[in-house]
């Protein structure tokens, strides 16, 4: 099977993730969509590693996973704090800071 299909899938997942970030309201879901974008990038990395016959892409994928894990720690901490103080994790409610 051609490796191109993996790239199409990666681009599709990335687009779904990006659209989700822009459309969804719940901060947790927005955050999940961001994770989807990161994973789409990981798929692209391993596909390119296979295409180029070099291992750098796979290494990059591991780094991405570690960074994504750190991002989850920081992100959930922030979202949970917000939820505890407002009883809502909707990003539309976060609109105190306005012109």
């Amino acid at each position: 099977m051609s490796l191109d299909y993996y790239l199409y899938l990666s681009a599709l997942l990335f687009t779904i993730g990006a659209a989700g970030v822009l459309i969804r309201r719940n901060a947790i879901v927005v955050f999940m969509c961001i994770e989807l974008m990161l994973n789409a990038s990981n798929l692209a990395f391993v596909t390119f590693a296979r295409m180029n016959g070099s291992i750098d892409g796979q290494i990059f994928a591991f780094f991405t996973m570690v960074v994504a894990a750190c991002e989850v720690v920081v992100g959930l901490a922030i979202i949970v704090t917000i939820y505890r103080s407002r009883r809502s994790a909707s990003v539309d409610d976060a609109r105190l800071l306005k012109l």
């Binding site: 955050f31 961001i34 990161l38 692209a44 390119f48 780094f63 991405t64 991002e71 992100g75 976060a94």
Partner: protein
């Protein structure tokens, strides 16, 4: 298989700061609360001091280290030195204890009994120090990264602590938490774009090192689909970080909501780090694609200047005005990238150095204007400040004039250098836009000056705190630097000119 070779001496600035960050976490865990503040400040200041020393020792180094993943050359030495000096000044503001900027305990609910108890017992959290140290470590690595993996990791090490630091404000905690949420979601979103771009650049070049990408661009035709997709998304990610339009919308909210010392730190340090990486990528790595990226950066630059200056006019909050001014300055800085010549690189470095001092100073003064409820950021309540405390208002005026780019201040030197480099390269459009934007910007800076001097003070309890030595030193250094760089800039320009050379590719 030979073990990887790590040149510890050359990488020392980054390693010292990150090691200090790790030690600071241990201090948080094991040292009694009574001694934490003293130990944390000593540790942080000495780490930055050692960092500055080791950067100075690197000044003649030029090469790629740690198996080619970090480039230490004149440009990165200048940038790392600048970052460390600004970090030192920022840390002075963060360590200020004459008045509290940070929440006693970030985990307590705003307005809850727990929060009251934490405040009443005089708790002073010190988590902000390890976070700051990690952010500085990431900022030092970001402009020196010579590899997409290192670049991405450095970006995250810089950003993740900042997301948390934005949420630590003591007053108006809901605003602060909201700022943290917005910063985090948009920052992570832009990181994802950045990562996707990295993937496609890797797919194009078959390697993640910058010189590999550069070689591939110079040999292969420049219209490869992978290359273009990679460049486009990577650029989006970077433009987010430097808060260029149309990716600037997080900046005013985060600058306003974050505790002011953190805003000061962030405004100076992340801008230097992000533009450093911008230079290394656009000038030293994908320079072969200049005809492709230049028109885009020109449009972004003009748009950023326009939005930054025009929207700032309508703002009523001093931190938001300064945030839009930061956006406008990103636009000015992008003209140095557009110039794409050696004087453009030098001018960008000079501009970053001048701008950092000024913006740190302005936010330092914002921390001083307070009433019983904390900082007063409503511009109307700043009226008559010149009559109430002439010295602070005078220094603030100096900073505002520098931001506007009036001669005899550092802002003029920086703007002159950066616009003339763009003019030299024949990109007249950005220069015209830049000069027009500067003229519009002068309007709202001068408006604040008028407000401070020609209006009567309101009797609403707004007063200017007498700064403790820490904040006073920070403001003094910033004011002096703004004046000296404005009147005798030549020594600094000479240093930058002699150092601003990228490692040969």
């Amino acid at each position: 298989m030979p073990a990887p070779k790590i040149e510890y001496a050359v990488l020392a600035p980054v390693l010292i700061l990150l090691a200090a960050g790790v030690i600071a976490v241990l201090v948080e865990a094991f040292v009694s609360r009574k001694y934490r503040y003293v130990i944390q400040t000593t540790l942080s200041f000495s780490a930055i001091g050692l960092g500055i020393l080791s950067v100075a020792l690197n000044k003649d180094v030029s090469g790629r280290f740690a198996e080619g993943s970090v480039a230490v050359d004149g440009v990165s030495v200048v940038l790392q030195g600048t970052i460390l000096v600004f970090s030192l000044l920022g840390l002075l503001l963060i360590a200020e204890r004459g008045f509290q900027s940070f929440t006693a305990q970030a985990s307590t609910l705003p307005g809850s009994a727990d929060e009251q108890r934490a405040l009443a017992s005089g708790l002073q959290q010190t988590e902000v120090f390890p976070l700051t140290l990690f952010a500085i470590g990431g900022a030092l690595l970001f402009p020196a990264a010579n590899d997409l993996i290192t670049l991405f990791v450095a970006l995250e090490v810089l950003s993740l602590p900042l997301y948390l630091m934005a949420g630590l404000s003591q007053r108006r905690r809901l605003l602060s938490q909201e700022a943290a949420l917005k910063y985090f979601l948009l920052g992570a979103f832009s990181s994802a774009f950045f990562l996707f771009g990295s993937a496609f650049l890797y797919g194009y070049a078959g390697t993640t090192t910058f010189e590999g990408i550069k070689v591939q661009i110079s040999t292969a035709p420049g219209n490869d689909l992978f290359l273009l997709v990679g460049l486009a998304t990577l650029t989006v990610g970077l433009l987010f970080k430097v808060s260029a339009a149309p990716f600037h919308s997080w900046t005013p909210d985060v600058y306003q909501g974050a505790p002011t010392p953190i805003t000061a730190f962030m405004a100076a340090v992340t801008k230097v780090a992000a533009f450093g990486a911008f230079l290394r990528i656009f000038y030293a790595t994908i320079g072969g694609m200049v005809w492709t990226w230049r028109p885009i950066i020109i449009v972004v630059s003009i748009l950023t200047m326009a939005i930054g200056t025009i929207v700032a006019i309508a703002q009523k909050d001093v931190k938001r005005v300064l945030a839009y001014s930061a956006i406008a300055h990103s636009g000015f800085l992008l003209t140095g990238i557009v110039a794409f010549n050696k004087s453009g690189v030098e001018a960008t470095l000079l501009y970053l150095a001048t701008y950092g001092f000024t913006t740190l100073g302005t936010f330092a003064i914002v921390t001083l204007v307070r009433d019983a409820g904390g900082e007063v950021t409503d511009l109307n309540r700043w009226s008559g400040l010149g009559k109430r405390s002439p010295l602070i208002a005078g220094i603030f005026t100096l900073f505002l004039l520098a931001l506007a780019g009036i001669p005899l201040t550092s802002g003029f030197v920086g703007k002159f250098a950066i616009f003339s480099s763009a003019y030299e390269s024949g990109n007249i459009s950005v220069v015209i836009a830049g000069v027009l934007a500067s003229a519009i910007a002068a309007f709202f800076y001068i408006r604040i000056v008028v407000l401070m001097y020609f209006n009567d003070p309101q009797e609403d309890g707004t007063s200017v705190m007498i700064p403790s030595p820490m904040t006073a030193i920070a403001i003094g250094v910033c004011a002096l630097a703004t004046l000296i760089l404005g009147i005798f800039p030549q020594p600094v320009i000479n240093v930058i000119d002699s150092l601003a050379i990228f490692v040969a590719g």
